[in-house]
Subunit: 212 residues, 3 copies
């Protein structure tokens, strides 16, 4: 049993690191596309990777931030930016983004779960917990796009992204409400969120259109 | 007397709900104009409706946020977004915006008063209290426009908006300083702010121009 | 000795006021270029002058903000905006910006030092302290540019700016670690930051390019 817990923890850590790298890379590539200088690329990478969790902690009044406890994450994104600038060329961008889709989807689910979890610990109402999950998963990309002077892709892409985290968040809240074990709520949320996101990309689902 | 208090409370609640709806609708319509998807429309509606009060609470370090106590407000804006997407067409936009001018102006006054009130309770200096009132009333619209990738209309419209809340805020601070009863300070602030805003729209007042 | 301390304090205050004015003016001029109305000009001036320190205090959970203790700074920027609108014409803009380069560079160093200092007092790790210094010095300009709907110049200028604060911040952290006296750490950080910035402008240094 202890062995299983250890495996679970390791898996979770792996997903978290891969997702943070995927989020950071989305910022680094966007910065490159906008022809930012080295400082801009690093900052946009930071915003994309840490913006969501930081905003969640700011809203829930949790301090110190997770990246104060895990400074190695900051160094990692800094190193990733330098590596990208040295080795990534325009022709690699699309391949990289395709490869990042799964870590990104898993990260969306993981971050939705951690956001909801923190809010539930603070006895927030269910809807607020779900929203905190979405903030954790989505706000980094929003900040990235706002700083790059474009409408956030999460708001105009018409492919479900935040909606997957919304459904996954309710799964987490529901399993929490019936006092399911923590690993079940976590994997339920990650599975549903990432599964929906995968399905949406595979079947090319579109959000319902506003007929103006 | 108790009857009057009850009436006052009801009136205040009515203004608050109407103003929140007006702020949310301004975001929903802006999102529609920018062809955002359903998620984007909802988020911009949320930002416009709750952004100002949330930023105020963040700056004054007040937790939990008002929308944690009143989750029904969140559900309300969510429902309003869905209704708007189902029933509002482009030809309704201008009519809706015209109809929203009065709830918007009253809400600006009410939010200016609540912002100043909270700051005064925390013994902030008068100017800071007035600024917190303006933040409460104006920041939601600013966030809405930043996310929609345009210069905030509150900063380039040349029709007085924040300025009305500035004057109204000083009215509130002044009446508070002479220990006037709460309902008087509140209605003074709302009356002056909404009155000035109404006059500005009616007489087409313009802010003084910077001759460059 | 006491005399020296007094001189140091006066010098520091002078730099702080000059730097705040330089930061505010950068916002006021940007607002004028974007043809904002009077409210917009004042707000962008406020954001440029106080945005960095406020974001730092928000992230480090320090309240009340420095401008609550020093309301005269708020009045000062308000007055500066009015004076600029009355007397500055387009032909003065470039001259003003050139004259502001030194106060701006000194302020970058001073704000980097105060940001790092506050983080170190809270026992943050060195990298976080350096980042807090950069946030203090740079975030105001970033907010100014985001509200003016352009990519922050700090991220696409290719002339070292945040990088100077990065180096200066490490100087501060290093001197703090070896328990150097406060005035030495402060002047070391300001000297290195402003010196590097001056050199960068004089020799026209460019950040390394990402070969895409």
């Amino acid at each position: 049993m202890q062995n299983v817990t250890l495996w679970g923890e390791t898996l979770r850590l792996l997903v978290e690191v891969a997702a943070t790298a995927a989020f950071a890379l989305s910022g680094i590539l966007e910065g490159a596309r906008k022809r930012l200088d080295a400082v801009g690329v690093v900052v946009v990478g930071f915003l994309a990777a840490f913006g969501g969790g930081t905003l969640r902690d700011l809203l829930l009044d949790q301090r110190p931030f997770f990246w104060v406890h895990h400074v190695e994450l900051l160094w990692g994104v800094l190193g990733l930016s330098v590596l990208a600038m040295l080795f990534l060329r325009t022709r690699h961008f699309e391949v990289t983004e395709r490869a990042m889709q799964w870590p990104d989807a898993l990260g969306l689910g993981l971050f939705a779960a951690t956001g909801a979890h923190q809010a539930l610990l603070l006895e927030m109402p269910p809807l607020v917990a779900v929203l905190m999950g979405i903030v954790t998963g989505v706000a980094g990309g929003v900040l990235r796009d706002v700083v790059c002077n474009q409408i956030p892709s999460a708001f105009r892409d018409h492919r479900p992204y935040a909606v997957c985290a919304f459904v996954g968040g309710w799964v987490y809240v529901g399993l929490w409400a019936i006092a399911a074990p923590g690993w079940l709520a976590l994997s339920g949320c990650v599975g549903v969120t990432a599964g929906l996101r995968g399905l949406a990309l595979w079947r090319d689902w579109q959000l319902p259109q506003w007929r103006l």
